[in-house]
């Protein structure tokens, strides 16, 4: 088994979609996929148009690239532009706009900005460039935090003096709570974030059914995973159950990755509050470098401007992230705000709800179904 193609079987999907349609009956369902990876799978494989029209998938806040506020991007650019700094980050952070452009623009103006595949690669760059200071711009939910944790440990063990981390790590539960507290919310359940759950496990979501009465199914990222999770949510509704279930059992253990959680605790501390693009300040929702690693904390080593920049007024990302409106309902969607000139966070990363809708999903439902059903030579769509 290769754990990919097996979960993309069109025949199994067709049967599953029929069962889903049957199970949903005439009721209306709105399920939120918390994770941007799910949004990507849904659009990438055209799942939205396979599901019956009365099952709506709402795209949640789980794209760590999208939720970094403008002020933090400005700080990152400031860091990148300091003399003798090599600034490293993941490829998808390079395009995210702050108030004066993106890291790609900083690079165009002469800053040494490099993308890395792994945070550990930044340590190697620091070793290879002893006369320069390497700052790693760390972003990501609990999935990515352990990798930064191991990187910090490694830097400390090597006794590096020219390496630091600009932490923008965030945690998944607080924004879910913020969304659940929102009064205009009408959700029938959640597809839980599969890869975050490899680290945190499934227990942290228990409050969702227990306090807010919404079912959660932790879901994998292949198309059949998504469909099966939708089916499981519908089953819970049919049976009158409301609990946390794990569809992604091949990867996610209920207790998560205990070793990773321990490393995170040793290297990071909760911030009292942190600003999320589109969602505002959320308390205890982000991580800073632990005091024990202060020498490797870019926020300690550099005095960054730290100026807060308000989200653009025209942008309705907050409502999109909460599922209150669909991407296309935003006033600036697709005209003033496009992937080339993103205004809001949801348009920035390919995983953002608006960018995914813009890039992949703008086909009319019937057109999509007509095109999708054909094969070359059968004259589909003609």
């Amino acid at each position: 088994m290769k754990f990919v193609d097996e979960f993309r079987d069109p025949a199994a999907a067709r049967a599953l979609v029929k069962s889903i349609t049957e199970l949903a009956g005439d009721d209306e369902f709105k399920f939120m996929e918390v994770c941007g990876g799910h949004t990507h799978t849904i659009y990438r494989h055209g799942i939205e148009h396979l599901l019956p029209a009365n099952i709506e998938l709402v795209h949640g806040p789980g794209c760590p690239v999208c939720v970094i506020p403008m002020g933090r991007i400005d700080d990152a650019m400031w860091l990148a532009e300091q003399p003798d700094v090599i600034f490293t980050t993941f490829g998808d952070m390079m395009r995210v706009p702050g108030s004066r452009g993106s890291l790609l623009d900083a690079k165009a103006r002469g800053a040494d900005v490099r993308f890395v595949y792994s945070p550990l690669d930044s340590v190697k760059i620091a070793i290879d460039n002893p006369d320069q200071h390497v700052v790693f711009f760390a972003v990501g939910f609990e999935t990515t935090v352990p990798s930064t944790a191991v990187t910090l440990m490694r830097a400390k063990a090597l006794g590096l003096t020219n390496f630091s981390v600009f932490s923008n790590h965030v945690t998944i539960v607080p924004p879910m709570k913020a969304i659940l507290e929102s009064p205009d919310l009408r959700l029938s359940g959640f597809l839980g974030p599969g890869h975050v759950s490899t680290v945190v496990g499934t227990h942290p979501y228990r409050f969702v059914p227990e306090v807010y009465g919404k079912p959660v199914v932790v879901a994998g990222f292949e198309p059949l995973d998504i469909l099966q999770s939708v089916y499981m949510l519908l089953e819970q509704h049919r049976d009158g159950r409301c609990e946390v279930e794990n569809q992604y059992a091949r990867v996610v253990r209920p207790e998560g990755n205990v070793a990773a959680l321990k490393l995170m605790g040793q290297t990071f501390q909760l911030r009292p509050h942190f600003e999320w693009r589109g969602l505002g300040f959320i308390s205890q929702s982000a991580l800073r470098v632990h005091d024990d690693f202060a020498d490797f904390d870019a926020e300690v080593r550099f005095s960054m401007p730290g100026v807060r920049v308000a989200d653009p007024k025209a942008c309705q990302c907050g409502e999109v992230l909460k599922g209150a409106i669909k991407p296309w309902e935003c006033k600036v969607f697709g005209t003033a705000c496009t992937p080339e000139t993103p205004i809001g966070t949801c348009m920035v990363s390919p995983e953002g709800a608006c960018a995914a809708y813009y890039n992949f999903g703008r086909l009319h439902r019937e057109t999509a179904q007509m095109v999708g059903q054909g094969a070359v030579g059968q004259g589909a769509g003609v």
Partner: protein, 92 residues
Amino acid sequence: MCLGIPGQVVEIVDEAEHLARVDVSGVRRVISVKLLAEQGVAPGDWVLVHVGFGMAKIDEQEAQLTLDQVQRMGQDYVDEIELFKTTAAEAS
């Protein structure tokens, strides 16, 4: 978020530093398996790879169970239709 893909461990490169070489459809990279140190990782194991780290071991039995469930869930509908057809035929 979080791009994670299944890779198969082909070699332990550095036991002390928890480095292993994984294969993804013929593409190889050395990743850190430090997060899986307690469970232990050996050549042949499948792991979920994210930003150069093994995040979790992939359980083949669980994967098969999931696929079986998918088949069963899809079958529910087929069975119901069959049942409906049979009962309809009997009723007429």
